[in-house]
């Protein structure tokens, strides 16, 4: 009987142990299940809170190769660009970004679309480029003068470029795949653009490697504005005695008044201006990034860009070496035409610039960033560029972010080198031959070297203590750069940015 009781106790103990084991296992399974559930339900948001960036820049430039006046003349330009960017997390995976800005500029070069405004509007007819719609000169008694060296006062002296881009991005649950789509619109007086784009990015190798592919299309449209003498000649049915040129003396190279009815009187080289107002750009970008070590990472970029349509700028004049020269203004200053002392004589254009209807660009770039220590890192960039217009270019830049005050402030000293060869169709003022099919005197497409030096400073408010309208300040930065081109163009730019985050 005692034996039986012992057996029963052992059996009960075994059952109890098994039940306990089962209970424990059950708990573990449930626990794991809960952990697993937590893993699948909790995701770090791609963007924690709404971020708002207010950006602004002020740009000035000076130079003596204005493209609107055929490669000689005042290039003074001022540009201010207030911009804001809002990034809104729609959920844990999706972010909507709105980028809107304007660029308001005044340009001496553009103002000389009609250089004769400096004499108090110009000509007879509303090709005078002044702000009113009348058909008369503001001061008919004053002589008509103009100069590529003096900014004119017409409507083309200033313009506003407006841009709005909306971008949507979605990240996969494991954050290893991202797709984006964007839609944009930009407009200024003589140009409108619609942009569409999309891209995919795949991360692999424990997020050490990233491969991205992006496609972008811009469907652009010119509202062409022409040099006033070319436009007016067409408007007056090629008659120099009526319309804009009525009552205005045209001078030859010797300063003598020409007979406007003579067969060799001034006339534009071609009787047609812009024939195709569209300008489309298609680009495909491949981006490869790789973490090389705990302190270094590299990125490679390759773009393939195809542009078609009217790729020349209808505002830009060209003067041929093998055609006679004609002027309006003070005959005494014709010998000084290319000197900035010329303030009152202007040479009538032979034609607008003409460039091929297609262009293929292939830039290849790479970035290499290295974390030297807690205070200093180095950011480098190199790009090789070539296109089928004969241009080749090298760009190299280096920047040393230096952290101060435990990372509250960062300094950004930087330097950028750039060079390019001229495109096949470039010649300076009065050096083109009229036998050429394509021609431009735009020095932006000439051979040159440029150097850019800059310094920036950034303040980082880690805890966003400073608040305004419910938004906490995240960072504030300001940056200055000086740009010097070997053809004499000099530019300065100050940029600033303030980033806020919502609570």
């Amino acid at each position: 009987m005692e034996v039986n009781q012992e057996v029963v106790v052992v059996v009960i103990k075994n059952i109890k142990n098994k039940l306990l084991t089962l209970f424990c296992l059950g708990n573990i399974v449930v626990g794991f299940a809960q952990i697993d559930e937590n893993v699948t339900t909790y995701k770090k948001r791609v963007l924690e809170t709404t971020e708002v960036d207010f950006l602004m820049s002020y740009y000035t430039q000076e130079g003596s190769h204005a493209a609107v006046t055929g490669g000689v003349g005042n290039e003074e330009l001022k540009d201010i660009t207030p911009t804001f960017i809002v990034a809104i997390p729609l959920n844990a995976d999706d972010v909507l970004t709105i980028d809107a800005g304007i660029s308001a500029y005044s340009s001496a070069s553009s103002s000389n679309l009609n250089p004769f405004d400096i004499s108090g509007a110009s000509g007879n007819g509303d090709d005078d480029d002044d702000d009113d719609d009348d058909d008369r000169r503001e001061n008919p008694a004053s002589p008509v003068i103009g100069s590529p060296w003096v900014a004119s006062s017409g409507a083309s002296s200033e313009d506003v470029w407006f841009n709005l881009t909306v971008n949507y991005s979605h990240s996969s649950d494991d954050r290893n795949f991202i797709w984006t789509a964007d839609l944009g619109f930009a407009a200024e007086y003589d140009y409108t653009s619609i942009g569409l784009g999309g891209g995919i990015t795949k991360l692999f190798n424990q997020k050490n490697t990233e491969l991205g592919l992006k496609a972008q299309v811009y469907l652009d449209q010119w509202n062409p504005q022409y040099p006033t003498e070319l436009d007016s000649y067409t408007d007056s049915n090629q008659d120099l005695n009526t319309g804009y040129f009525s009552g205005i003396d045209i001078l030859n190279q010797s300063g003598q008044i020409i007979n406007k009815n003579a067969i060799d009187a001034w006339s534009p080289f071609k009787d047609h201006l812009v024939t195709e107002k569209g300008r489309n750009s298609y680009s495909l970008s491949i981006n490869f990034s790789q973490i090389l070590s705990k302190k270094a990472q590299l990125s490679l970029f390759l773009d393939l860009v195809s542009q078609s349509g009217w790729l020349a700028n209808p505002m830009q004049r060209v003067y041929f070496a093998d055609r006679a020269n004609f002027f309006v203004g003070n005959a005494a200053n014709i010998p000084n035409y290319t000197s900035s002392t010329n303030i009152d004589v202007f040479q009538l254009a032979d034609d607008i610039e003409r460039l091929p209807a297609s262009r293929i660009k292939t830039p290849f770039g790479m970035r290499l960033n290295y974390f030297i220590n807690e205070s200093v890192s180095v950011r480098t960039y190199y790009r090789f560029y070539m296109d089928d217009w004969g241009m080749k270019s090298h760009t190299a830049s280096i920047e040393f972010p230096i952290k101060l005050a435990l990372g509250k402030f960062t300094l950004y000293p930087n330097y950028r080198f750039y060079n390019q060869t001229a495109i096949d169709y470039f010649e300076p003022f009065e050096e083109h031959q009229s036998t050429s099919t394509y021609y431009t005197s735009d020095f932006d497409l000439s051979k040159f070297v440029s150097h850019q030096y800059g310094l920036g400073i950034k303040y980082l408010d880690i805890f966003s203590n400073f608040k305004i309208f419910g938004l906490g300040l995240k960072s504030a930065e300001i940056r200055y750069s000086s740009y010097n081109r070997s053809d004499g163009l000099q530019a300065n730019i100050i940029s600033s940015g303030i980033k806020f985050v919502s609570d």
Partner: protein, 72 residues
Amino acid sequence: MKYFKKIVLCLFATLMLSSCVAVKEYKKVNINDPDMQLSGLSIKRFETNFQVYREGASGANGGKSGGGCGCN
């Protein structure tokens, strides 16, 4: 053609590099520093914009490579 060969070689070499390195997430504190990001800093967009106007070359910098403005 020579140019494309160089690019392909460069890409291939970098892909080879990638197979040897896998820095763990918790060791990426330096790599994740905002100043180490491989995309251009947002405040630099204005400099990139004026360069697109004043220079013939553009693109391969994560920004615009043509179109959207009456620029080169």
